[in-house]
């Protein structure tokens, strides 16, 4: 990502975007190809999406030992800031539901989170992205632990020492989620430093039980409250019920771009 000229926050001047270099063409091993097929299927659309996903996940599970090596290799070679692709690889490892993935998960979680690189973490935080990768890996371990893996339970205990609130929270949640997890409470408490023991009281709950926004209209600005824009057009399967306002798309000064 290069910045050829400095941005001016709040400037009314439009900016310009140039094409970067295209992606390199990669050669994959058979396990690598199975992994690529899986990544292509995890967010597939269409009537056959579920079937494609089942075939793809079966493919990676059949070659779990080779695939986890490929996952680790690709995650290692990914650009550090390609968080989306790295997340997909860690998610793939969790979908293996295989003990062979445990060393990879341990490596992800126990690798120290690099220092914040963003000048404004509220807007974008490299620590946030790295943390999300690690909590996804912790959840992969928790899945193994809930399936009865003692090694996974021990790994979750090790994660309680990682200096990250979210990693510790996910590890506690994973431990409390195993069969007879309540019996681990004392050991967890012993392992956690005092300022993090409140995590034992953090409740996993359903979204329907959490405090909602009861009057969002009140939270609108005056301009927002006066707004009367048309609703989004109906999808094809409901277009018979279309709100006629959805076609009222008078532009504010110029025409919308043309799709296909």
């Amino acid at each position: 990502m290069s910045e050829e000229t400095g941005p001016i926050p709040g400037s009314d001047m439009p900016d310009s975007l140039r094409l970067g270099a295209g992606p390199a063409r990669l050669q994959f091993s058979p396990a690598g190809q199975v992994l690529m097929n899986y990544l292509a299927a995890i967010n597939a659309a269409g009537d056959d999406a579920d079937e494609r996903y089942k075939v793809a996940v079966t493919g990676i599970r059949e070659k779990a030992h080779d695939v986890i090596i490929e996952i680790a290799r690709q995650e290692n070679h990914c650009r550090a800031k390609d968080y989306s692709t790295r997340w997909g690889l860690i998610y793939a490892a969790s979908e293996l539901v295989h003990p062979a993935a445990l060393p990879f998960f341990r490596s992800v979680v126990l690798t120290p989170i690099p220092p914040e690189e963003s000048p404004d973490p509220h807007s974008f935080s490299t620590v946030a992205e790295e943390t999300i990768l690690r909590t996804t890996a912790v959840d992969g371990v928790a899945r193994l632990a809930s399936g009865g893996s003692k090694e996974a339970v021990e790994a979750l205990f090790d994660f309680l020492d990682v200096p990250s609130l979210s990693v510790r929270r996910a590890a506690v949640q994973g431990l409390m989620g195993v069969k007879e997890g309540e019996s681990l409470r004392g050991r967890i408490e012993e392992r956690l430093c005092p300022e993090y023991r409140f995590l034992l009281d953090v409740r996993p709950i359903d979204v329907r039980k959490v405090t909602q926004i009861t009057d969002p209209e009140k939270d609108l600005s005056d301009e927002g409250r006066r707004s009367n824009k048309p609703i989004a057009p109906d999808l094809m399967d409901r277009s018979v019920h279309r709100d006629s306002r959805a076609d009222d798309h008078k532009s504010q000064g110029d025409d919308p771009p043309k799709g296909k």
Binding site: M1, G20, A44, V127, S221, E223, L235, D247, H249
Partner: protein, 229 residues
């Protein structure tokens, strides 16, 4: 005027761009979204995608993908009454609050900024390279919710707490879940998307769960005391 370059693009299957881009490539949707969110050619031209709206390498398509997710992820998406949950009315809140949506370079990592009409800068939301290329599709929808809440006049009102990954003591946190601030709006949207999102995939819902849990853990001065089951 700033000039920037498209960075290396993450896997578009994993980010959801290959799932959502064909959906936005519908003239009726494009016409509606363009008007309802205050896009203008001036800010979406010159490489940002005005001339190739269906190209999911470019910012306009990737932004419209976030807007599509925001608008059609409830089972009965047409039911956007305020009495429903945020998965239903989030889209209404965003379009009511955002009248001017601009693509900009930013500093290379920044995601977005809401200008709510102070300091002589007109009301608008600017989206930057981080929004287009570091965020997956659900995270882009969450950003629109977050910025719309700022446009609704709610600023952050606290410092990040001890242990927060955003940096203990830095400003930009919300005091609590009950403050109903931008972090709560964003996390609640992601949470509902995880729990009940439709026309999407299990992987994108899981990514939303991870992001929402991160916000719950780190963005409130007082931890809300719950996590996503």
């Amino acid at each position: 005027m700033a000039t920037c370059t498209i960075p290396a693009i993450p896997n578009k299957d994993v980010s959801g761009d290959n799932l959502y881009a064909p959906r936005i490539c519908n003239q009726s949707f494009i016409n509606w979204a363009w008007s309802a969110h205050g896009f203008s050619k001036k800010y979406w031209d010159d490489g940002f995608g005005y001339d190739a709206v269906c190209n999911n390498t470019l910012p306009l398509c990737r932004t419209l993908s976030g807007i599509w997710l925001l608008n059609y992820s409830a089972d009965d998406y047409w039911n956007e009454q305020w009495s429903n949950n945020i998965l239903h009315w989030g889209r209404r809140y965003v379009r009511n609050q955002i009248d001017d949506l601009r693509a900009k370079c930013g500093d290379g990592t920044a995601i977005a900024t809401a200008f709510s009409g102070f300091l002589g800068i007109g009301r608008r939301v600017e989206l930057y390279l981080g929004f287009f290329y570091s965020s997956n599709v659900p995270a882009r929808a969450e950003t629109l919710i977050h910025e719309a809440r700022h446009m609704g006049g709610k600023s952050h009102n606290a410092n990040f707490p001890s242990g927060s990954a955003f940096g203990a003591g830095r400003s930009g946190a919300d005091s609590s879940w009950g403050y109903n601030g931008a972090w709560m709006y964003g996390a609640l949207y992601l949470w509902w998307f995880y729990a009940d999102g439709r026309r999407t995939t299990a992987a994108l819902r899981q990514s939303a769960r991870q992001r929402a849990n991160f916000v719950i853990d780190n963005a409130f001065a007082t931890h809300p005391g719950f996590t996503i089951s």
